[in-house]
């Protein structure tokens, strides 16, 4: 059988093309043959000049104007077959030798080689030519000499291609003319001599004596057929047809079936050559009809007896293939398929394996032309199997090539072979994923044709054939595809076998070979690490002066889970990389196979070429996955695309695209792919990471911060105040021109001050320059959560509490370089280089300092001494009184004047403990600002005094506790106002108008404010060692302690009583005793006008026994309403007995002492005069009390009573010292 047969192959002159005279470089050979083979059709009209009619041509109807000779150039040797006589077109009718003269020693040797090369064709070849290219001058000369003697060697002098082609055309035309003349001779020879034409079918025995006549006729018929064949070759179909008609007649008569078929076949060929160019249905029908009978005749010529020796099956099949090729059109697919399938069936009866090979090749080709790719693939695979049965490398190469052609139909093709398809598929996938909504149907199309069994078989065969063919790259690629796509279906030993075949192939490959097909591992993008907070990049808006304003995270969290999640989810996520600053990308590798995988190096594949990627080496044990960090340095401004990674693995360089694995994982999600390589390695499911659009910007300034004195955390006790010095260095190559500091994070209010000026004055900060700015920080209070946590965790260790990580405030510095980069000012993409953000955590480790244990409110009652004073020297008194009281009492914090007394003095007792191992000194002060009486000057002085002298330091040794007393005084409000009880009012008085409600609310707020005011005045400062000092935050504790009795502290009683000595009736002397408060801190700064000159009073001691002492009691109404009451005054002796009434009364009196009805106007005083006469000197106590009639709600609320009974109001006791007269 012959390859590439068609109906018209009967009209083609076979020309053998042989390279001779030493090796010809393959590219040159290719050029030479291409020059030759383009002349496969030579018009008769063009050869007439070379043609000389020696005798009368037998081709009487030769169409000189329209006809042509056809050549079929066959490169390489073609052995003559026993069937050559049957069809002259099978014979090699001419030999064209090609020679490359530089590799030929001399022309003599060439002609010797030529003649030896032509020997196999000597019987059939009618013409021999040798085209010799590139002769040297000497060779040209020699050729010229030989040419005179007539030689077959044609020299092609070196010239340009066009000239050579023209030369070649001439030579081919010359050859054609020679052949034509030879055909004429052959025809004449056949006609005259009656040569015996035989085929292997004709056995010698069959020529019996009785059949001699028949045999003669038969011979005539065969001769006619042969002449017809030559006519066809000579391009004269009309002549051929005439001869064929005769031959057919004779063959039919002599029952020469085989030659009948041959003649019929020839006639069809003649018909087609004659009608070349016109194809009509009638012709087609005719051809079909005749060919079916040809096939039929060939089938009939099959003789069972000699079927083992010779068989005509191949002719039958060839005829079927010819017909199939003739009909090969989509519309006639059914018929063609039947023909081809019939031919395929016939393959079994073919003896020669080569014939079968050719048959399958032809069938596959025809199916391919028909568009039946899968059928074609099937037969191609058959071809490959036949090749593989032959045991030589050449056949294996062919098998490999054929198989790789089938790989498309089986969807296992190498990525290198059809990068376009892969690209489009990738694009499709990306469209899907980007579209968000994924169409299941279109995803399925991504994983087209999952004929995994077939695919594995085909790949295995490719692997086998390429190993045998010695093509390591193809073997590598096949093994890689097999392993990557079908590892779940391959047993662990099989996987290891594939791995070793990968390694073996790689050994034969030169170092640095690239393969388009990636093997293992699977690589997917894990994440892009965000910029560390030290080098964060912020877009700068040129229009906005404070570009950082919106960029800083609002809210208390610098890294909120929402913003982070949003960033990764967002498709439009953008990354900015900076020239010269290393970047990092996390990728995950998975090795789902059962062998150790060593990735010699892996680095990012950057198609945009502006990133230097750094390779790393990874080793992956069986069934594991690893996340590794790949890094690189951007080198140029512009966008960066990272489609995948480049790997050196198994000795070959491959590129692994992220997209492919994404698609694979998508398929896994849809249940279309066998297995998820990452999941089976135990890696968790990862969300699809989109490759963000990455752009590289020119270099930016880079600030690096460090804390002066070491970057470790400063250790502070709670409440300690300290400066932290932060130095900022510009480590970039661009100066910092703008900078702005802000605060964020927890405990922001602990930062007291930042030296903004230092930074501002340092700008612009040149590269390498440094600026230092102090930050004053006050250590915050440790929360309870901290302590709980700590207590549980370190129960055995010290019970010291330490602040948690992450509770430190963060200093955020936004900075930026110049608006236009000096060197690249022309860059238009980034008209404004972005700014950056530096986050400097103020590392503070807070130790527990002084611990507040509890606060208690103590009240103390010290009765006043009755004395007298004159109210006109009040101002003088005050200043003096300060000094006086100091003298009186060494502990000036509690300056209680024994002559004034203090009724209901409230003291706040703070219990502090020191759990640390250092000593603390505590300094308590109460700051007094302008009190109720608005004596500014005085207040300030007093304040000063307090701070200066008032508070001796309390030393608390380590692990000790101590109590500190804080007097609470002068926080009373001047007026007892109903509005304070607004709440109660509103409950009771439903008619209360809105306006009053508002007013009440305001007053309520005032009250709260004054409480806060009170608390904030109390400062507990501490000092420990030489350089740590701070303040204890006890506000909450104080508030808690005061909460219960705050009303008592702040609100005045409704009535206050005062006793005064009335001196001689015209100057009233005050018996100073402020009855209004139950607690009174008698301090020198008391702004009340009630303070008296104690020393004066004492020196003028005036109450004598046995003397009438006129006295007055002043009752002050502290409310805004008029109060009616009945007042009574009593006097008690030391024993507490009433010494005015009763049997043993020691005091006589004048005036009314009980049941005095009085009415006091709002905020007014009334006086009631009486006189006492002390019979016995000694200590007495005066008491005033009143029963308020018609008490209002305010009063009731103050008295904390609900009932309607009269309210009893009692003043504080007064001491009266009565001197004896003696």
């Amino acid at each position: 059988m012959e390859p590439d047969v068609s109906m018209e192959s009967g009209s083609m002159i076979r020309v053998a093309v042989l390279p001779v005279g030493g090796a010809i470089p393959p590219p040159l050979l290719r050029t030479y043959t291409s020059m030759l083979t383009r002349h496969s059709v030579v018009d008769l009209s063009s050869i007439s000049s070379f043609y000389s009619e020696h005798q009368k041509s037998p081709f009487s109807h030769q169409p000189w104007d329209s006809g042509s000779l056809r050549f079929k150039f066959v490169l390489g040797a073609h052995p003559p077959s026993p069937w050559d006589d049957f069809q002259p077109s099978r014979k090699t009718l001419a030999v064209v030798a090609l020679a490359h003269l530089p590799s030929v020693p001399d022309l003599g040797a060439l002609s010797e080689q030529l003649s030896s090369a032509c020997k196999p064709y000597a019987s059939s070849a009618l013409a021999v030519r040798c085209f010799a290219f590139d002769p040297s001058d000497a060779q040209l000369e020699e050729g010229r000499r030989r040419g005179e003697r007539g030689s077959d060697i044609v020299l092609f002098p070196p010239s340009d291609r066009q000239a050579q082609e023209l030369h070649m055309l001439t030579m081919v035309q010359d050859l054609a003319a020679t052949l034509l003349m030879e055909f004429e001779k052959a025809v004449l020879r056949t006609e005259s001599a009656g040569t015996i034409l035989k085929t292997p079918l004709d056995s010698q025995a069959s020529l019996g004596s009785e059949e001699v006549i028949k045999a003669k006729k038969r011979r005539l018929g065969r001769a006619q057929k042969t002449i017809g064949d030559y006519c066809l070759l000579a391009g004269s179909p009309v002549d051929a047809n005439a001869h064929y008609s005769t031959a057919i007649e004779l063959a039919r008569l002599t029952n020469d079936v085989f030659w009948h078929a041959g003649a019929l076949e020839g006639s069809v060929c003649a018909l087609l050559v004659d009608r070349r160019g016109h194809k009509d249905p009638v012709l087609e029908e005719e051809v079909k009809y005749r060919y079916y009978s040809v096939i039929q005749l060939y089938r009939r010529s099959f003789i069972q007896d000699n079927a083992q020796r010779v068989s005509t099956v191949s002719f039958e099949l060839e005829a079927a293939l010819k017909l199939a090729r003739f009909l090969c059109r989509r519309e006639l697919a059914k018929e063609v398929v039947e023909l081809l399938m019939g031919a395929a069936d016939g393959a079994k009866s073919l003896i020669d394996a080569n014939d079968r090979l050719i048959l399958y090749v032809e069938i596959a080709r025809l199916f391919g032309t028909l568009g039946y790719q899968r059928k074609a693939a099937f037969f191609s695979r058959q071809v490959a199997q036949l090749y593989l049965q032959q045991d030589n490398a050449c056949a294996a190469t062919s098998a490999m090539q054929v198989l790789s052609m089938t790989s498309k139909a089986y969807h296992v093709q190498s990525r290198g072979a059809n990068s376009k398809l892969c690209a489009s598929r990738l694009e499709l996938a990306s469209n899907h994923t980007e579209g968000g909504k994924v169409q299941p149907q279109s995803i399925i199309s991504l994983f087209e044709s999952q004929w995994s069994t077939l695919q594995m078989v085909v790949l295995r065969e490719i692997l086998m054939s390429s190993v045998r063919a010695g093509d390591p790259l193809a073997a590598w690629s096949a093994a890689a595809r097999l392993l990557r796509s079908f590892y779940p279906l391959i047993t662990p030993p099989g996987q290891s076998g594939l791995a070793s075949s990968l390694a073996n192939s790689a050994e034969r490959l030169p170092l640095g070979t690239r393969s388009a097909d990636p093997a293992l591992p699977f690589i997917r993008l894990h994440s892009f690490p965000l910029h560390p907070s030290q080098t964060d990049i912020i877009k700068r808006n040129p229009g906005k002066k404070e570009w950082w304003a919106g960029s800083a995270p609002s809210g208390p969290f610098i890294y909120t889970p929402f913003s982070k999640g949003g960033a990764t989810d967002n498709n439009k996520q953008e990354l900015t990389w900076i020239v010269g600053e290393p970047v990092q990308v996390l990728v995950e590798l998975a090795n789902p196979c059962a062998f150790d995988l060593l990735v010699e190096s892996i680095y990012l594949s950057v198609h945009s070429g502006n990133l230097d990627a750094f390779p790393v080496s990874v080793s992956l044990p069986p069934n594991t996955s690893k996340v590794i960090l790949l890094s690189g340095i951007p080198t140029k401004v512009g966008p960066v695309s990272i489609p995948g990674c480049i790997l050196h693995c198994f000795g070959v360089i491959t590129e692994h695209l992220f997209k492919e694995v994404d698609n694979l994982l998508l398929g896994v999600a849809q249940g279309l792919v066998l297995s998820d390589p990452f999941r089976c390695c135990g890696s968790s499911k990862l969300k699809n990471v989109h490759i963000p659009s990455i752009s590289v910007v020119p270099s930016l300034p880079l600030l690096v911060s460090h804390v002066v004195g070491g970057d470790s955390a400063a250790i502070l006790y709670e409440g300690e105040i300290r400066d932290i010095w932060i130095s900022l260095t510009n480590a970039g190559t661009v100066p910092v021109e703008q900078a702005h500091i802000s605060l964020t994070g927890k405990n922001q209010d602990s930062v007291i001050s930042i030296a903004h000026e230092n930074l501002r004055s340092g700008l612009p900060l040149k590269p390498g320059a440094e600026v230092t700015l102090p930050v004053t920080i006050k250590a915050w209070q440790l929360g309870m959560v901290d302590s709980d946590h700590d207590a549980s965790s370190s129960s055995s260790g010290s019970s010291r509490r330490i602040s948690k990580e992450g509770s430190c405030p963060l200093l955020v510095i936004h900075y930026a370089g110049p608006l236009l980069h000096p060197s690249e000012s022309s860059v238009t993409e980034y008209p404004v280089p972005p700014g950056r953000r530096l986050v400097v955590p103020l590392h503070v480790c807070i130790l527990q300092g002084l611990r507040y244990v509890k606060a208690r409110l103590l009240s103390m009652e010290i009765p006043s001494h009755v004395s007298k004073t004159f109210s006109n020297n009040v101002n003088v008194d005050k200043n003096v009184s300060g000094g006086a009281s100091f003298q009186n009492r060494p502990n000036s914090l509690l300056k209680i004047d024994p002559y004034r007394g203090s009724w209901g003095l409230h003291l706040l007792e703070l219990e502090l403990s020191n759990p640390t191992d250092v000593v603390f000194e505590v300094n308590v002060s109460v700051q007094l600002d302008d009190g109720p009486k608005n004596d500014d000057q005085n207040a300030s002085i007093v304040d000063h005094d307090t701070a200066e002298f008032g508070c001796p330091k309390t030393r608390i040794d380590r692990e000790c506790s101590s109590r500190v007393l804080i007097p609470l005084e002068h926080f009373k409000l001047p007026v007892l106002d109903g509005s304070i009880f607004a709440k109660d009012y509103q409950r009771n008085d439903s008619l209360g108008s809105k306006v009053t409600g508002m007013a009440e609310w305001n007053t309520k707020a005032e009250l709260n404010a004054s409480i806060n005011n009170l608390i904030s005045k109390i400062k507990v400062r501490w000092q420990s060692g030489r350089n740590s000092s701070g303040e204890l935050n006890i506000k909450d504790a104080t508030q808690a302690a005061l909460q219960a009795s705050v009303v008592d502290i702040l609100l005045p009683d409704p009535l206050t009583f005062e006793f005064r000595l009335a001196k001689h009736g015209h100057i009233s002397e005050r018996l100073d005793g402020s009855l209004d408060s139950k607690m009174q801190v008698v301090s020198p700064g008391s702004p009340s006008g009630q303070s008296t000159d104690e020393s004066t009073v004492r020196s003028k001691e005036s109450i004598q026994a046995h003397e009438m002492t006129p006295m007055e009691v002043y009752i002050r109404n502290n409310t805004r309403e008029r109060i009616r009451m009945s007042l009574s005054v009593t006097c008690r002796d030391v024993a507490g007995d009433n010494c005015i009434e009763g049997a043993s009364a020691t005091v006589l009196w004048a005036g009314i002492l009980t049941g005095i009805s009085l009415e006091v106007l709002p905020l007014q005083e009334v006086a009631h005069s009486f006189s006492l006469y002390f019979l016995v000197p000694g200590e007495y106590t005066l008491l005033a009390a009143a029963v308020i009639d018609d008490a209002t709600d305010v009063l009731r609320a103050r008295a904390k009573t609900e009932s309607l009974e009269p309210i009893f109001c009692r003043g504080s006791p007064f001491h009266v010292h009565v001197m004896g007269t003696a």
């Binding site: 697919a333 398929v337 199916f367 568009g371 039946y372 790719q373 899968r374 059928k375 693939a377 099937f378 037969f379 695979r381 089986y410 299941p440 149907q441 399925i444 199309s445 994983f447 087209e448 044709s449 999952q450 004929w451 069994t453 077939l454 078989v457 849809q670 249940g671 279309l672």
Partner: protein, 119 residues
Amino acid sequence: MASTACFIIVSRNDIPIYEAEVGSAIKKEEAAHQHQFILHAALDIVQDLAWTTSAMFLKSTDRLMLLHDSRNEDGIKSFFQEVHELYIKILLNPLYLPGSRITSAHFDTKVRALARRYL
């Protein structure tokens, strides 16, 4: 029962979604491949003929293909009808994504039982 039979369901996208060797002959690894290769190659023609021939027992866009060596046309016809019913049941399963592989063991048992009965 036929000695060789390979049954396969091919989805619209030419992906085999179910395959079963239902022949009674002893299975050889290579033979199984061969059957699949033949069926795969036949797809071309099936595709062409699907809408032109009346010899299809089921006009369905998902193709049920049987490679057989028995001449029992009636048996094959009933086999196809029954399997088609089973297949429709699978399709009606809301959890089954049309076009993906049929992994139901129940379906497999039923198909094999049908093959024993009809082929």
